[in-house]
């Protein structure tokens, strides 16, 4: 099994599609890192507030008097004078805010949505390409134990998706780190926050891996990359939305709402129909059923 898995992983990481995807992600990360660094606000909140107040003086007739009345930075910082101003600098904790219902503001959670989409595409592509090239047949005349073969294939898609997700999230975080250190704020980014970040990334990485297995399973069922991707998204975007519009009661059994609950990246107005743990168990049940159907089909179906 380990030899089979090694073959599958080597093949997966040699795929041009994976290379292109990785190159594109790296390019975006580099551009984002430089872009954020160069455009980042460097003024502290008090200084920024004073600058904003001074800007209003340009429109006053008595500029000198206005400027004299604007409080100094130290006066604003002391808190004696209340001035409403958000901290404009980049905060490291913006990467993954340590609070629930913060899906809208975290940088890494936002890119996670793209990760979900790509995981399905990567999973479907890795296995669908084998059907297109006909190499499944070659593999089966070397290793005819089909359950092992399909297990290795699905496992390899999961590993590839997980590694890609974790690598790119880490690289994105590292690309934004200099901005936080040299031009922004690192307050709050303590060991507890880092632990929360790592646990969150691993949890969502596991969901990304599971979605790659979903994409791969549908590729085995349809024996086609495009068919698999179309089927998954037609279900997630078409069927679930359509059925939901007919009956709200079924909503709690659908994949997308439970996926939102399981990730913990919950929008503010989202209906909490069950706990994250219960949602995870339900999704694992769905995944196990899909994998069982996939394995059964792969084991019994004729090739060629």
């Amino acid at each position: 099994m380990s030899a089979l898995l090694a073959v599958e992983l080597r093949r997966a990481f040699s795929r041009r599609f994976v290379h292109v995807l990785a190159a594109m992600a790296l390019a975006i990360i580099v551009v984002a890192g430089f872009g954020v660094f160069l455009s980042a606000e460097t003024e502290a909140p008090a200084a920024k507030a004073r600058s904003e107040l001074l800007e209003t003086c340009q429109y006053e007739s008595d500029v000198a008097r206005c400027q004299a009345e604007v409080p100094t930075v130290s006066e604003i910082e002391s808190g004696d004078i209340f001035v409403v101003s958000d901290d404009p600098r980049f905060e490291l904790t913006e990467l993954w805010p340590d609070e629930p219902g913060s899906f809208d503001i975290g940088i890494l959670p936002t890119t996670t949505l793209l990760g979900f989409f790509l995981a399905i595409v990567v999973g479907a592509s890795l296995i669908g390409a084998e059907y297109r090239a006909g190499t499944i047949e070659t593999l089966l005349v070397w290793e005819p134990r089909r359950l092992r073969v399909v297990a290795a294939k699905l496992l390899s898609t999961a590993v590839v998706a997980l590694l890609l997700y974790l690598t790119f999230q880490t690289l994105l975080a590292l690309a934004l780190l200099p901005t936080a250190v040299f031009r922004g704020v690192t307050e709050g980014a303590d060991a507890a926050w880092l632990g929360h970040l790592v646990v969150s990334l691993l949890r969502i990485g596991a969901i990304v891996a599971a979605l790659a297995v979903v994409g791969g399973s549908f590729a085995v069922i349809t024996r086609n990359t495009g068919g698999a991707i179309a089927l998954v998204f037609a279900y997630l975007i078409g069927v679930e939305v359509m059925v939901q519009s007919l009956s709200d009661g079924l909503n709690r059994w659908f994949v997308v709402p439970n996926l939102v609950l399981a990730t913990g990246l919950i929008p503010v107005d989202f209906e909490l129909t069950r706990s994250a743990a219960a949602a995870t168990v339900l999704l694992l049940g769905y995944l196990a059923t899909l994998v069982a159907v996939t394995a059964g089909l792969f084991r019994t179906r004729d090739l060629g």
């Binding site: 090239a133 190499t135 047949e137 070659t138 005819p144």
Partner: protein
């Protein structure tokens, strides 16, 4: 017991609208150990389906098959580990080089890298071993398929059209390689539509038509089943010679001025003696041999028209 034993093998495909297509219709086949066994048949006769059934790629609808003494459905893992095979055009990972492809598959079977290099050398692929499989010609893909089979050092080789896409020099190389493997004591089961090649390469053949075996055995015996050649007799009075030979029990037909003696029991000396006994002295008796192509066309044509 043969290396491959097939009994009553059937494969029916059912289409979307319930339309059934029979690919194998109760095939019986016995391939003895050692030597090169040719598996012939027109397109759609069930050759590749048989090979796929033997290798577990498709499930037969009925019947049984044993490969190397083992039930090929129940102990497929054991069968496959002892068999090297090419099914239709060899397919490998297109972005990998030939060598890397072989190394990957070698890893599945614990085959050492030295055997990978040796197989590449035997098939003449050493110079192109590092090029991607995608860039290979059809002939090179066939060679790589052969290399994959050879590095496994199998007891039984199942080769589906191994000369497909090869140039004449390549065909000769494959022929020599297959004959050498057969002479080493291995069994080579080779399906092909290149009948002249099969006749030169194989010790035994089976001819398949419409999913059934219509002739099988040593090449000479199969040639006999298809008529096995004929004697062309030229004599002064062909009509009388025809009567004399017919009365003597020979199978005789006329072709213009020539008398054709066909069927078993034809022997130039006996024919000459018989005619001489009737006062006729033929000035020419020529033995014409029948090739596999003629037998193949006759047997498969007879089945098809029947």
């Amino acid at each position: 017991m043969g290396v491959i034993e097939v009994e009553g093998l059937r494969k029916r495909y059912v289409g979307w609208r319930g339309k059934q297509t029979t690919a194998l219709d109760g095939l019986d086949l016995s391939v003895p150990e050692g030597g090169v066994y040719g598996f012939l048949g027109p397109n759609g006769s069930g050759k590749t389906t048989t090979i796929r059934c033997l290798l577990g790629l498709i499930r037969p609808s009925a019947g049984s098959s044993r490969v190397l003494g083992v039930d090929s459905r129940r102990s497929l893992g054991e069968v496959v580990s002892r068999v090297g095979s090419i099914v239709e055009t060899p397919r490998f990972f297109p972005n990998f080089s030939g060598e890397r492809n072989l190394t990957l598959f070698a890893g599945l079977d614990g085959i050492e890298p030295t055997r990978v290099r040796a197989a590449l050398e035997t098939t003449g692929l050493t110079e192109r071993a590092r090029d991607s499989f995608r860039s290979y010609s059809l002939g090179m893909k066939q060679r790589l398929g052969m290399a994959a089979v050879l590095m496994k050092d199998p007891e039984l080789l199942i080769l589906d059209e191994p000369a497909n896409g090869l140039d004449p020099a390549g065909i000769v190389e494959v022929r020599e390689l297959v004959r050498r493997l057969g002479a080493e004591g291995r069994t080579v089961f080779v399906s092909s539509h290149l009948l002249a090649e099969v006749q030169q390469m194989c010790d035994r053949v089976a001819i398949l038509n419409r999913g059934r075996c219509v002739a099988a055995g040593p090449v000479d015996d199969v040639l006999t089943q298809g008529g096995g050649g004929r004697l062309v007799v030229r004599v002064e009075e062909p009509r009388r010679a025809e009567d004399v030979l017919t009365r003597a029990g020979f199978e005789v037909t006329r072709d213009g001025d020539a008398v054709l003696v066909t069927g078993t029991g034809r022997d130039g000396a006996q024919v000459s003696r018989c005619l001489a006994g009737a006062g006729m002295y033929p000035w020419e008796i020529t033995a014409q041999t029948v090739d596999l192509e003629t037998v193949f066309l006759e047997l498969t044509g007879r089945e098809t028209s029947g």
